[in-house]
């Protein structure tokens, strides 16, 4: 069996895509990967909606912009965004980045993605692990997409608030009852139009791993 550590290490969230379409057989492989995610008691609560219609993607992109922008505008006005990006030294560049964030434009990219996959879960079949199963499903999608040369991004923010989640359901004609389906996120997919120049720093193992009990750093 192949070691997939390099696939894991080189994956990053890609938000800019070439306009080239994704062939059906590639989409099918990504969906097949999703199907094999771990799931509590094998319930497989996930349902996947593959979206290629530009009008639908436009609506999703607008909703994403609204969701992120509404929160980030407030965070900027409270000074929180400025603290988050204070490591950017150039004031002009920092202002550009901040405006990109609080305008919500940072989350509009579903419009340009050739494919968007909405990941939802049924709440009606008894599964007790729906959010966790769906998260594992999304991770499988991201890893398979990356291994096939696609770029992808897991997007939760636009469906995070209760009202936005309801709007998202209406766009895709998902039943809106709170006991029916959970919308956890969507994944935007496309051939990457950006490269990974600087991998985002990851915390070293020494910082995040304990041995035998919480707080114990020695391997023993």
């Amino acid at each position: 069996m192949d070691d997939i550590l390099e696939v894991l290490r080189t994956r990053k969230s890609i938000r800019r895509y070439k306009p080239d379409p994704i062939p059906d057989e590639i989409i099918d492989k990504v969906l097949e990967a999703a199907r094999w995610a771990p799931t509590g008691e094998n319930y497989q609560p996930w349902r996947l909606i593959v979206i290629r219609d530009p009008k639908t993607k436009e609506k999703i992109g607008n909703l994403a912009k609204l969701g992120s922008g509404s929160r980030m505008t407030a965070w900027y006005c409270l000074g929180e965004m400025q603290r988050r990006f204070e490591e950017i030294q150039d004031p002009v560049r920092r202002a550009e980045v901040l405006r990109f964030m609080y305008s919500g434009e940072v989350s509009e990219f579903a419009k340009q993605a050739p494919v968007v996959i909405a990941v939802i879960g049924t709440l009606m079949e008894g599964s007790v692990d729906v959010p966790y199963d769906l998260s594992a499903c999304i991770e499988n999608i991201l890893l398979e997409a990356h291994s096939l040369g696609l770029g992808a991004c897991w997007v939760h923010g636009p469906v995070a608030s209760t009202r936005d989640a309801a709007k998202f359901k209406k766009i895709l004609k998902i039943p809106t009852g709170m006991g029916e389906y959970k919308v956890i996120a969507y994944v935007a997919l496309g051939w990457p139009a950006e490269a990974r120049k600087h991998p985002r720093p990851k915390k070293p193992l020494e910082e995040i791993v304990y041995w035998e009990e919480f707080g114990r750093k020695e391997r023993g």
Binding site: K65, L66, S70, T73, W75, L78, R99, S103, A160, T162
Partner: protein, 162 residues
């Protein structure tokens, strides 16, 4: 039996549970908590001032909050609320004591709901909830977006305390 204490105790358990499950984004899920009360009151008005004033009248008139004032600033995007002796204050105090920053404000949710339902506001966001147990005051900062082009309207809210 103190019914208010009983219900606040249940809210504390639910709020800490939500935080444990969802961490920071729990705050984004709770915007409908409290709206049933205000939706039953048939609030009417043509402007945000009218809607907010009528909500406050119902909220204070029914004893949910003793005193309540508001201001709108931040180029029309900031709604400041100040409340004294809110019926939910014991909930907030207990959560703070347990190390969780309270994130459910049913009272603010009521007003934001009516701006959306009655005036068609595009979206709203409860941005900051400050509780002072000593003075029994809550100060809430909400973002209110009448239209999508209000997204990105920025200013320094620290200069606009109520």
């Amino acid at each position: 039996m103190d019914r208010v204490e009983y219900f606040n105790d249940m809210l504390v358990r639910l709020e800490e549970l939500l935080y444990q499950e969802l961490s920071g984004c729990a705050a984004w899920k709770v915007e409908l908590v409290g709206v049933d009360f205000i939706q039953s009151k048939k609030i009417e008005g043509k402007t945000e001032n009218e809607i907010i004033e009528r909500c406050i009248r119902e909220i204070t008139g029914n004893g949910l909050v003793k005193e309540m004032t508001f201001s709108i600033g931040g180029k029309g995007v900031l709604l400041n609320l100040k409340m004294k002796d809110c019926v939910h204050l014991p909930k907030e105090a207990r959560l703070k004591k347990e190390g969780i920053t309270p994130f459910i404000c049913p009272i603010a949710n009521m007003i934001l709901d009516q701006l959306i339902e009655k005036l068609g506001y595009e979206t709203t966001y409860l941005a900051k909830l400050d509780i002072d147990g000593k003075t029994k005051e809550c100060r809430v900062k909400c973002a209110i977006y009448e239209t999508t082009d209000k997204i990105g309207t920025v200013s320094d809210w620290a200069r606009e305390e109520l």
